[in-house]
């Protein structure tokens, strides 16, 4: 149900935990810390993904605990390659039932999904992989800003943000800022208000991920997540203290800033 890489909608993920929304089928190419939290908090029934790790750090321990030990519940997984997921989102955004790529053949990935089939090129006879389009019920992305009409502007590493929005039945954007006019920015993508269902202003809403032009990635947090998430009790305490017990994203930011400051200055 969310975006990619840069501009990860952490604040929206926390709100899902607070509201105890459960039995979700979540989709993301690169589920990382926020998905680890959703999984550990028991919100996830199924995960569709292509790479599930803590980038540059190591494993997602809550994800592993769910897959390896069914804790706190068993989750179903469906995995793909990045290229396959990208083609699935593109097909979804294009209104096509499938996308085509030269991939999957010869790998064991093919055995564990119903959503990749081989087709023949009608001109050359070449066998290619067809992947089923993804059309999420809801996509949530974080973006830099929106104007008052709801047009949303995204720049920097744009990932599959556009495809996530355009493939979804309902698209929600959290943004750093709402402005009167979207000044042009190099490399920016603008999504018109009429393809966005709702915009919420959440400054630093991607933290510990970042929004280019607004914030820096908090690499220390990603490193600190490793020991927290390795232990079920430490994880549960962290979620309780910083997510469940906080009212909103601002309160969350205050809460973790206090907790992590000591450790961070010593790192």
């Amino acid at each position: 149900m969310e975006g990619f890489t840069h501009l990860i909608p952490h604040s929206a993920g926390h709100e899902i935990i607070r509201q105890q929304i459960r039995d979700l089928h979540v989709i993301r190419m690169t589920p990382d810390v926020i998905f680890d939290q959703l999984i550990g908090a028991g919100c996830v029934r199924k995960l569709t993904f292509s790479w599930g790790g803590n980038p540059g750090v190591g494993s997602l321990h809550r994800f592993r605990d769910a897959v390896e030990n069914a804790w706190p519940r068993a989750i179903e997984i469906e995995e793909h390659s990045h290229a396959g997921m990208a083609a699935r989102y593109s097909a979804g955004a294009s209104g096509l039932p499938f996308g085509t790529l030269r991939g999957y053949r010869g790998t064991d990935l093919l055995q564990f999904t119903e959503n990749v089939r081989l087709i023949n090129c009608p001109f050359t006879g070449e066998k290619l992989a067809a992947v089923r389009a993804i059309n999420p019920d809801v996509s949530i992305v974080h973006a830099q800003r929106a104007d008052r009409e709801g047009n949303v502007q995204i720049w920097g590493l744009i990932g599959v943000q556009k495809e996530a929005i355009l493939s979804a039945k309902v698209a929600i954007a959290t943004v750093e800022e709402i402005v009167d006019r979207l000044e042009p920015v190099q490399g920016a993508v603008v999504l018109p208000a009429w393809v966005i269902s709702a915009v919420a202003c959440v400054p630093n809403g991607a933290h510990p991920s970042f929004a280019m032009g607004y914030s820096q990635r908090d690499n220390d947090f990603y490193r600190e997540w490793d020991p927290i998430s390795s232990d079920r009790v430490a994880f549960a305490q962290w979620i309780q203290t910083h997510v469940v017990a906080t009212d909103d994203h601002e309160a969350f930011l205050n809460s973790i800033s206090k907790a992590h400051k000591g450790g961070r200055s010593g790192a």
Binding site: S59, L60, R105, E163
Partner: protein
Amino acid sequence: MAPDGSPTADDVMIVNAARALGDLARVGRATCFVGIGLPSTAANLARNLYEPAPVLIYESGCIGSKPTRLPLSIGDGELGETADAVVSVPEIFAYWLQAGRIDVGFLGGAQLDRLGNINSTVIGSYAAPRTRLPGAGGAPEIAAAAGRVVVIMRQTRRAFVERCDFRTSLGFGDGPGDRESFGLTGGGTGLVITDLGILEPERGTCELVMTRLHPGVSREQCLDNTGWTLRFSDDLGRTAPATDEELAMLRRVRNGAAL
């Protein structure tokens, strides 16, 4: 760097990987699709050491990134800010990788087998894995489409196995002809650089054989750290010792000093 200032096995591995990229760039195969971690360190070392410098391409959509500090994540802002062009993720895979524009794919993994296949999905069975790994990411299509694949991995008996528990990315499948039968357009695993030396696929069998050892490494060490009956090339050579210049630059790259 070891406390006595001599290079560690990892240093030697990274320096040799950088040299391999430099050699490929020199013969005009300069575009390199890079993963985070050891590949990114080696690629950035090569970019700072050699002319022509390899062109680094990251799966987050960055083409021609020239980071001044090593990125922790593929989505690091530094990669975008220093790139010649930033494109979407669907585009980087379709228009750039799949189209055959990548000369060198630079991969790691948890397991590598005798035929150059790579596992980055699970150790054990898929249904009940002993270890759940991050998964495929961009690797399957990099392995499929890059002109040649350079693998950088520490050589151990657990990692270098007779057959991968899961084939995430194809080397030579079950042997000669398999890549062609699957319609893969790239050349497959061409070079494996480890902390002990270098392996290359043998002509005719595609089996990975040891072609060079790093300074001070013995054949026995290699045999002990390989899960299949490792063979050595008839003209087994040695890699040149890492130079002071290479090691100094590696230190700078690691420390994120202005590059």
